[in-house]
């Protein structure tokens, strides 16, 4: 697409997928690995030319398993790298993601999810919430998870993702869906205020250079990046270390709230369902209903403290495009303090705001 955008310099009309590619390159991406799958194909398509132009390397892997292990290798060398895929492809990557988490290896994984389970369809779905926030791979591990709702957030969150990956040396996942991947809207291709430049990322890479880097010879301690700890008590120590890191990650929580202060009912929705819900809420507020919107931007860490604070005297309604996943985390967060209702949109459907109006009204009754 021609980037000469006429009367609005700096704004380009791009898909969420294309915004991910621009954001990754502008944030300092050096290596991309991937294997094609709808609805995220514009990401590798664009990066196959954009990334080499910026001095990086693009590799179409032989499979998703190959791609995630290349990500592990690049991360182990302290290189800002990413993979992207969709649902079933992300399932194939889970072994590598668990190994990266166990070995303290940074990397960014973009999941523009599709309908499931199994091969599902290429329509929108939020059915990968559990997989993204509860680990997904085996063992006790956590990904940092960001959920964009707009093409602009697809761009902006790439900066955040690479920074978090190297600060915590942990896998970071962007969880989108077919709506945010495929919709086009104007994006300002400017690094978001307060976020970091590729130079800052490089300084993080230097400071955090992984324990595998270093001297040879018998005198030097072995410098291994590994997730295997067989000696008695060694794995317990490793898991305690991971646990303390995950506790520290909780301060990275991000969310958006709109009209919550006077609200009787707060709708909680993430990603593209968050923006669809916003349209329905605006319509109902015009009709005099006191309804607010709460949109988690990070799914892990989950904004439970903010929800606890809002709970007394209110009702919550979780709207999500799956058969009930985030609602469990909301119920855990409020721990019975307020009623938590749920409305599920089935995976694969393209749903407009008009179809959320009645479910929201029902939660008010």
């Amino acid at each position: 697409m021609n980037s000469d955008s006429g009367q609005t310099p700096g704004r380009v009309l791009v898909k969420g997928n294309e915004a991910v590619a621009y954001g990754a390159v502008d944030a300092g991406l050096q290596c991309y690995f991937g294997y094609p799958i709808t609805p995220q194909n514009e990401i590798p398509e664009m990066l196959s030319t954009l990334l080499p132009e910026h001095g990086g390397s693009f590799v179409q892997a032989e499979s998703e398993v190959g791609a995630v292990n290349m990500l592990l290798g690049a991360g182990a060398c302290g290189v800002p790298a990413m993979v992207s895929s969709s649902s079933c492809g992300i399932s194939l990557m889970q072994e590598g993601i668990s190994y990266m988490a166990g070995s303290h290896i940074p990397g960014v994984i973009v999941n523009m999810s599709r309908g499931g389970p199994g091969l599902g369809d290429i329509g929108p779905s939020q059915g990968d919430y559990f997989q993204a926030v509860k680990g997904g791979g085996h063992g006790d591990h956590r990904n940092l998870v960001l959920a964009p709702a707009t093409a602009q957030e697809c761009y902006d969150f790439m900066f955040k993702a690479f920074t978090l990956a190297f600060v915590y040396r942990n896998p970071v996942m962007i969880l989108g869906d077919a709506v945010v991947a495929q919709l086009k809207e104007p994006v300002r291709r400017v690094p978001p205020a307060g976020t970091n430049t590729p130079e800052y990322l490089q300084s993080l890479v230097r400071d955090q250079r992984i324990e595998g880097y270093g001297a040879r010879g018998k005198a030097a301690a072995p410098r291994l990046l590994k997730s295997v700890y067989l000696a008695e008590g060694a794995l317990a120590g490793r898991n305690r270390l991971l646990q303390s890191k995950y506790a520290e990650m909780r301060k990275e929580v991000l969310f958006e709230r709109e009209n919550v202060d006077d609200a009787d009912l707060i709708v909680i929705a993430f990603g593209s369902m968050g923006r669809t819900a916003r349209s329905a809420i605006h319509r109902l507020r015009k009709a005099g209903r006191n309804i607010g919107l709460f949109r988690p931007l990070t799914l892990y860490p989950f904004p439970e403290a903010a929800l606890q604070k809002l709970a007394p005297g209110r009702r919550f309604l979780v709207v999500e495009q799956n058969i009930g996943q985030m609602v469990e985390d909301v119920r855990l967060a409020v721990n019975g303090v307020c009623p938590v209702y749920w409305h599920g949109v089935m995976p694969g459907l393209f749903v407009g705001a008009d179809e959320l109006v009645d479910p929201i009204l029902r939660a008010l009754e």
Binding site: N2, T8, I122, V179, K184, R275, F350, A353, D354
Partner: protein, 179 residues
């Protein structure tokens, strides 16, 4: 005050609904308003059915998807069957009468009937039916100035096809001026 408009554009794969959707969204962005464009198509391409939704708003756009649109551009009969029942009562549809039988059109709905394929053929290129229909839609909704859409052609049509921009602009004009 919000100036809001939405449109679902639908036809066979290959009729160019994605191109006019992109064009409208690009023109809206260049006019400084908020826009979203979202395509919906099956695994099949040419010959299958395809549709896209464009939303234009002076306020930030929530949902990029619309179940009951304010307007539609329907280029073939399967698209009329799908979207005519969903059109809002105060909405308007642009119907391609070259490919859609008159008796299928709901008389209660405000409808712009335009022989888009026939007019495109007269302009010398049957592939211009999409632009003819978009021109008629711009006249019916006054959502954006015709000139803004004509100007945006340069950003949406790839350099390889730049030679076709004048005839596309002429097709927009023809649709707009069809009364």
């Amino acid at each position: 005050m919000s100036k809001y408009q939405d449109v679902i554009m639908a036809g066979f794969g290959g009729q160019g609904v994605m191109l006019i959707g992109n064009l409208l969204a690009q023109a809206g962005m260049e006019q400084g308003i908020n826009v979203t464009f979202i395509p919906v198509y099956g695994a099949e391409m040419r010959g299958g059915t395809a549709n896209c939704t464009v939303v234009l708003d002076s306020l930030p756009i929530g949902s990029p998807l619309v179940h009951e649109p304010l307007s539609t551009i329907v280029l073939n009969e399967p698209s009329l069957a799908k979207f005519q029942p969903r059109l809002r009562k105060d909405g308007v549809q642009v119907v391609n009468t070259s490919l859609i039988a008159e008796h299928l059109v709901d008389a209660a709905i405000r409808t712009v009937r335009i022989p888009a394929n026939g007019m495109a053929h007269e302009l010398g290129n049957a592939k211009l039916a999409n632009m003819v229909a978009l021109g008629a839609w711009l006249r019916a909704t006054e959502a954006l100035p015709l000139k803004a859409v004509r100007d945006a052609l340069r950003r949406v049509v790839s350099a390889h096809y730049a030679g076709l921009i004048p005839v596309n602009a002429a097709a927009l004009d023809a649709g707009y001026n069809f009364a």
